[in-house]
């Protein structure tokens, strides 16, 4: 059975599938939060979700609008102070997966959430790095979820907010960073993984109906493909049902508040 679904739903579901039941996941607001909670509500019921507001092991029934919604604290195992969160939990190396998004990404999965244009004279001033610069180096690995377009998938970032694979190859190791960095990039069109040698983000799976031409049209650099490129399995009925129920609950809760 095939069902209708949006590219954003495909992206969220593909990202959710990448999470494992024994992961400890540092979650950002927005799409990462939707994907992480979808994973928890489907195949990864024991996944530990952590938000930088200090909530450890939180199990929200609706998606938070902000990183510190009451729902996150009320359903958490416990809540620690923000200095403790960044010292003991993030820097302490206790997180297996950090989930990031961004306004710009380059082919080595470095991210920009700071500024479009020059730093001193920005065309668009973005919110800034928040937790990302340290999430990017302290988590075991990084999953990135981003809507793909030429504007966001750029040959060169205007500003490096958080480190991906740097200039590629062993650049992280040369910076004395031992964590794996971005191991998965999930977009509304495809799934990327780093090439084992160059560390360039490489297409490993394309979502149903997406063509190589369309992919390239939405990417600011010449794309590389893995030797074998899979087709992403479409969302299952159950995945869509759980995701849509989650989003409907969320919409109701936010409207009521």
């Amino acid at each position: 059975m095939t069902m209708d679904y949006t590219p954003t739903e495909m992206m969220t579901i593909a990202a959710a599938r990448a999470l494992r039941n024994d992961d400890v996941c540092f979650v950002g607001i927005g799409m990462p939060s939707a994907a992480a909670n979808l994973a928890r509500l489907t195949h990864a019921p024991d996944i530990v979700l952590i938000y930088e507001s200090g909530t450890l092991g939180t199990k929200p029934s609706v998606l938070p609008l902000s990183i510190g919604d009451g729902e996150l604290c009320e359903t958490a195992l416990t809540t620690v102070s923000v200095p403790e969160m960044f010292r003991y939990w993030l820097q302490g190396g206790r997180i297996t997966v950090g989930f990031l998004g961004g306004a710009q990404i380059d082919r080595f999965a470095n991210l920009n959430t700071t500024v479009i244009g020059p730093y001193d004279k920005p065309k668009v001033r973005l919110p800034g790095g928040g937790g990302a610069p340290e999430i990017a180096v302290s988590c075991g690995e990084i999953f990135i979820i981003m809507t793909q377009s030429k504007r966001s998938f750029v040959p060169k970032l205007d500003f490096v907010t958080s480190l991906g694979h740097g200039e590629g190859s062993n650049h992280r190791a040369r910076l004395n960073v031992n964590s794996r960095g971005p191991t998965k990039l999930v977009t509304d069109l495809a799934i990327f993984e780093p090439d084992p040698d160059s560390k360039e983000m490489t297409v490993v799976s394309m979502h149903p109906g997406v063509t190589r031409a369309a992919l390239q049209d939405n990417t600011g650099w010449p794309l590389r493909y893995a030797a074998t490129v899979a087709e992403t399995p479409p969302p299952t009925a159950r995945e869509l049902e759980v995701l849509r129920a989650l989003q409907a609950r969320t919409a109701r809760a936010h409207a009521a508040a």
Partner: protein
């Protein structure tokens, strides 16, 4: 030793022109009522420090209270950018606004170092990124045992810290619960502090032996402002008004709508206007 004051008196005592002020709150317990009083008192040339400046700092900046913003994530969470902050940084309206930008880890560590009486914090951060190129307050330090290069940032020691909390007792101790953010650190790191509270109780009664409490002798002024964190929330009292946050985007987009809103909702009102938000939640729960 903490003193109970009206909000107007408390803000007058705590915040002076030119001060470095931290009004903290990590989504939770944001001291909106106190921030509005700062606006009404027409404070000027403030350096505003906060990890997550959102609507309250947009309002302060738009009303011309600030000359500098120190932050790690500036936005309207889940909604968008801060139009007033942008207008100030890009167009100097109503006054130019300098920025000093950090990561969350840097600021959390810097508050921690401030509370701990240290001149700087060390952490593992800012690796392979551009912020150190634009922020001279990000430096390096070498571990004398391993030789590892670590990052150092100056401690945050504000002139004034303002936070909101659930309860004060009659002795002037303050109890915080839920998402604690860096509020305790901000108060301990500051020269002067103001805590607005939802309620004042005779004593805190049964509680965790490890409750997050600011003892009276670490707090400057306490003002009783029920609902004072609205439109953010106070765990156990009222929920976040997400609609307010969403509506702000349109209000703040243009100078005129912003000024009209501030006049009607801040300049011509007082802290008592916040009480209704606390009461509504109480009624809803009954």
């Amino acid at each position: 030793m903490s003193r109970f004051l009206s909000l107007a008196e408390a803000v007058e005592w705590t915040v002076r022109d030119g001060d470095t002020v931290a009004m903290e709150g990590f989504t939770h317990l944001i001291p909106f009522a106190a921030g509005h009083e700062v606006i009404r008192q027409r404070r000027k040339r403030l350096t505003l420090v906060r990890m997550t400046p959102d609507l309250l700092y947009d309002q302060l900046v738009g009303m011309g209270c600030a000359e500098k913003l120190v932050f790690s994530w500036a936005g309207n969470p889940g909604v968008g950018l801060l139009h007033r902050v942008r207008d100030a940084t890009e167009n100097g309206w109503p006054a130019p606004l300098a920025i000093e930008e950090h990561s969350h880890a840097a600021m959390a560590n810097a508050y921690e170092a401030g509370a701990a009486g240290l001149p700087c914090a060390i952490f593992r951060g800012y690796i392979g990124v551009d912020l150190p190129k634009v922020n001279p307050n990000i430096r390096q330090i070498t571990c004398p045992f391993t030789g590892e290069t670590l990052t150092a940032v100056p401690a945050i020691r504000p002139d004034a810290a303002i936070v909101h909390a659930q309860k004060a007792d009659r002795a002037g101790n303050v109890l915080l619960e839920g998402i604690l953010g860096v509020q305790k650190e901000a108060v301990l790191a500051a020269k002067r502090s103001l805590v607005t509270v939802e309620e004042i109780v005779e004593n805190f009664g049964p509680r965790s032996p490890n409750a997050a409490i600011l003892p009276a002798w670490t707090v400057g002024a306490i003002a009783h402002v029920p609902g004072g964190a609205y439109p953010s929330y106070a765990l156990g009292y009222y929920r976040r008004d997400n609609a307010y946050y969403k509506a702000w985007d349109a209000i703040a987009r243009e100078r005129e709508t912003f000024l009209a809103w501030m006049k009607a909702n801040v300049l011509e009102r007082g802290p008592e206007a916040f009480a209704v938000h606390s009461q509504r939640a109480r009624q809803a729960a009954e």
